[in-house]
Amino acid sequence: MGQEDEILGKAYDSKLMKRLLSYVKPYKKYVVLAIFLNIIVAALGPVRPYLTMIAIDDYIAAKDYEGLLMISAILVASLILQAIIQYVLTYYTQYMGQKIIYDLRIKIFSHVQKLALKYFDKTPIGRIVTRVTNDVEALDDLFSSGIVMVFSDVFIIFWIFIFMFIMDWDLSLVTLSVLPVLIYATFRFRKKVRDAYRDVRFHLARLNSYMQEHITGMNVVQTFTKEQEELEQFNGINSDHRTAHIHSVFYYAIFFPTVELLSSIAIALIIWYGGGEVVSGFMTVGVLFAFIQYTEMFFRPIRDLSEKYNIMQTAMASSERIFKLLDNDTRVQNPENPEVLQDVKGEIEFKNVWFAYNPGDYVLKDISFKIKPGETVAIVGATGAGKTSIINLFTRFYDIEKGGIFIDGQNIKDVDKHELRKHISTVLQDVFLFSGTIKSNINLDNDKITDEMAVEAAKTVGAHKFISELPHQYDEEVKEKGATLSVGQKQLISFARALAYNPQILILDEATSSIDTETETLIQHAIEKLLVGRTSIVIAHRLSTIQNADKIIVMHKGEIREVGTHQELLAEKGIYYKLYQLQYKDQEMTIKG
């Protein structure tokens, strides 16, 4: 995870806030209810010291037992009322917060599912995952406690001030004289803690991504006996993380005692000034009593302000990252009014296609070829020649720079890309298995693919044998990335998946590169029947894999160099001929000799 995750900007950004609030809109009535309850509940706390004053001055001083009992009863009643309202308030605001982030989470996930592969090429998966998980969670604090708590704190302070000034104007001013110091201390602290906190987050992210990557590649670490060096590197990051925390300890250690000291100073002030007033008869003991209680009451919200500030800041930073992702429009655009793809016959044509992953850096140059319906076409060429890229274009994983790609004469740009993909099955070069079962990996939880179809597909690719030897057969658990299967077995499953979808067009990108030749020949014979009337594109390095192709396209450095049948290409004595020589000349000699 890069720096991007660590930038903490402003605590309040009106543009971001406006946009965030647009997600609150559906829950407007909760907000109204929350604010209303807040105003009431905020008064119930501060009213109690006031009642205490009455108890002391009017009843205790007058030795009125009954009055004391009555006022105590009122105190209890206010307490119970406050508790009930508080419960309702907390419940509903939290509920609202949860609903909002739920909406947002699904929105982000759906958005990411629709982004083009270009985005995934450049963005670490861990970072995208963070957007739908931790970043969204950070907003929960804002919606369910942040906003509402700020309201309630403001109301509470407001009520405290009202009561204080009603009781005694002078003493209020004296008491509140510590306020500027408190606010100053809080803001200093906030700033320091923010910096320290940013440091902590930064090192934590480093620590996590280090661990994530090295757990994934632990076998490489062990192969090269790098444990000692890696441990040292880990400790470096770990100790940076510790140091960052220890820095923040200092600020907390100094802040909280300072606040306590300030509150004692406020009390001392009350006693000093109020004491004098009481002695001279301008003030009652009850007022003094109430003031001391108020001091404690208003110190808390102000002290917690720094925490709320952090919540706001984290939320702003998270929402900024989230909105940036939502605004990311790296899409392969679907046409507004897609042409209908009817009855695909499987004619494929590339017309002067140019393509680059990074602008200007052409990986495919002026590619033109035509595949007739039902044909099997092979693409061969050196590694990095651009074979995989060609099929990435045909399934519209990427859009081309120049030229056109046609299916049955229709430009693929004019048809719905999902419709297009539904007619094509691709066995990707990089095998990917999901955690789940063997069956769920073949049918990808598609109800349209029955168990029989899945088994049939597994049989066709020769995977049935090893699957039926597993303890739970098709329901055998598949671990993350298929860790307990051999590489060839994984490839067979991914091949079976392609066949189970029963496509009009089949694309095999090195689909049998890790599979032995006997199994491969069996597959070839088995799918021969299947392929009648269907178009297929085969990429392979082993020439025996592609010998039956109707046409072979030879790629070199992003260009098409030769096209023809096996015989024609051999006669041409070009690149294909050389490849052929390399693979076979020695073998022929041993046989003939």
Binding site: L68, N208, A253, G275, G381, D445, L579
Partner: protein, 582 residues
């Protein structure tokens, strides 16, 4: 709770700091309890006709005492919290040192997300124990004793009545936070499911898009989110009770003081100042009492976390140096012998390798071929001891591999795994990974043999190109060749290539093999491949079938033998050659 005793060694390590911390707690608390008394005296002094300086004296004494107590509070945090961070660090270091030594088996059976959860959440929970939990329990108990002594002195009966609700409070906090924690664990489980799901959906995006499964994926994600929401609301229902109950009970305590204490004042038993002191003591007590319930929970949670962590820390290394290790063996020359080797992955799974016997002489090149899933990768993983044999022995230079120091063994084996993995670092650092040294000539040489130099020329940043996660921005063949270069760079005595050319075209492969032949002079090499063209020049070829070596010999012998290998050979010939032959 005894799982936490595993932490004792860390506490001992910092005993000086901890002792100082305890001393500071005592100093801070013993001074703090005097503040309410000062408040009482000052209020009560107002009754008589005091002179003004008396009041000022009280005010100053309050501030002075608070400053004294606050100073030690500062020191407490500085000591205790720093120690907790240090212990967290030590714990994490030990955790990682341990994880690195766990066998491959462990990583195949536990998901990355799961291991990460231990490294983050569990260690965090344990830190909460060594930090706040320990600090608060000492703080709370001493404070409680001091305050109790004080308020008993003021009025035993008022003490009794006003403290009556507090045990109830502690109990409620304990119960509630226990329930909340349970719910929280449920939430965490769902959350990690949600995370794993998102992770897989994004890593497998190519498959999802190919088969147009986006809608299904979103649907499943919605379902998970629904459950997550429901579990959260479950927690909120209880959690929302927390604060109201808290101030309800503490509020009742204070009201008892005012009502009952008030009537004692009316009777002339107590003074107003004493009531004030009492309420001040109560508010000093309230937090510790809450903390008590909370701390009890922290202890429970962290002991659960510690139990989970201990389970990892107790996970045996399986593959490690032992008392039989002969440390005098510090070089490897490269003769490999398999003696009656059998192997299975788990007790209840069938044998993958059955009674394998073979010999690979030093300096020779051998190859393994065989059908998919026949056990080739399993076999070569036994040599550098990624797994240990179930039965039999593997000998290198006449030593059982279990007797060779693990680091000597692995340092001399260049293994290119069948599945590539590259770090998200520069290409140069990836090639140099096993070497621990900057060395340009090694990078160049390794890249040249792996024929990576051609590709690197076309990269704008050359060897400084930063690879994407797992090398995502390289083509399949480029990834494989980078891994090959990385293995060559350590100058191994034994080189093992597990199907390392499957994504490389035959032309490039041929170039690499020619250069490798030069490099491999005097070294032992083992090659696995499905291509005859790759293995045909090996000194000896072993054919595996169902975990047994069924054929061995050189290319000509095996072709003449007319069995599996010959069959493989003919299948890879093109049809016209076959026609020519007949």
């Amino acid at each position: 709770m005894n799982s936490l005793s595993a932490l004792n060694k860390y506490f001992v390590r910092y005993k000086k700091e901890l002792a100082a911390g305890v001393l500071f707690i005592l100093l801070s608390n013993s001074s703090q309890v005097f503040i309410p008394l000062l408040m009482r005296d000052s209020i009560d002094s107002l009754k008589e006709n005091v002179n003004y300086s008396e009041i000022i004296k009280y005010a100053l004494m309050i501030v002075g005492t608070a400053a004294f107590s606050g100073y030690f509070r500062f020191l407490i945090r500085m000591k205790m919290n720093v120690v907790s961070r240090k212990i967290e660090y030590d714990l994490r270091t030990d955790f990682w040192a341990h994880i690195q030594k766990l066998p491959l088996r462990y990583f195949q059976n536990n998901s990355i997300g799961n291991i990460m959860a231990h490294a983050t959440n569990d260690i965090n929970a344990i830190r909460m124990y060594v930090g706040p939990a320990v600090m608060y329990s000492i703080d709370t108990s001493t404070k409680f004793i001091f305050i109790l002594a004080m308020i008993l002195m003021i009025s035993p009966s008022l003490t009794l009545f006003s403290l009556l609700p507090l045990p109830f409070l502690s109990y409620m906090v304990f119960r509630l936070s226990k329930r909340i924690h349970q719910k929280f664990t449920f939430i965490q489980e769902k959350f990690s499911e949600l995370t794993t799901f998102a992770q897989e959906s994004f890593s497998g995006i190519r498959v999802i898009k190919s088969y147009v499964r986006e809608a299904k994926q979103i649907d499943d994600f919605k379902k998970l989110s629904d459950e997550y929401l429901a579990r959260n609301m479950d927690k909120i229902k209880i959690q929302a009770l927390f604060m109201p109950i808290l101030f309800l009970i503490t509020g009742v305590s204070v009201i008892v003081v005012i009502w009952y204490g008030g009537s004692l004042v009316i009777n002339g038993v107590l003074t107003i100042g004493e009531i004030l002191a009492f309420t001040a003591y109560l508010s000093l007590l309230i937090f510790p009492v809450i903390a008590l319930g909370w701390v009890m929970n922290l202890v429970q949670q962290s002991s659960a976390s510690m139990k989970r962590l201990n389970r990892i820390l107790d996970e045996p290394y399986e593959i490690n140096d032992s008392k039989d290790t002969k440390y005098s063996k510090n070089t490897v020359s490269g003769t490999i012998v398999f003696k009656n080797v059998s192997f299975k992955y788990k007790e209840n799974l069938p044998d993958v390798l059955k009674n394998i016997n073979l010999e690979i002489p030093k300096g020779s090149t051998v190859a393994f071929v065989g059908h998919t899933g026949v056990g080739k990768s399993s076999l070569i993983n036994l040599i550098p001891r990624f797994y240990d044999v179930t039965e039999g022995q593997i000998l290198i230079d006449g030593f059982d591999v279990k007797e060779i120091p693990l680091s000597v063994l692995r340092r001399n084996i260049g293994l290119v795994q069948q599945e590539t993995f590259l770090f998200s670092d520069t290409l140069r650092n990836n090639i140099l990974y096993g070497l621990n040294a900057e060395n340009d000539s090694v990078v160049k040489k390794a890249a040249e043999i792996a024929r990576l130099d051609k590709d690197v020329e076309s990269f704008p940043n050359g060897y400084e190109t930063i690879l994407g996660e797992r090398g995502i921005t390289l083509s399949g063949g480029q990834k494989q060749r980078s891994c090959l270069a990385r293995a060559l760079a350590i100058d191994p005595k034994i080189l093992i290539l597990d199907d390392s050319f499957s994504a490389v075209d035959t032309h490039t492969e041929e170039e690499i093999l020619v250069k490798l032949r030069e490099f491999m002079k005097g070294r032992t090499s083992i090659i696995i491949s499905h291509r005859i063209s790759t293995v045909k020049d090996a000194d000896r070829i072993f054919v595996l079938d169902e975990g047994i070596v069924v054929e061995q010999g050189n290319h000509e012998e095996l072709v003449a033998n007319g069995k599996i290998y010959a069959d493989l050979h003919y299948r890879q010939l093109l049809e016209e050659e076959l026609k020519e032959l007949s």
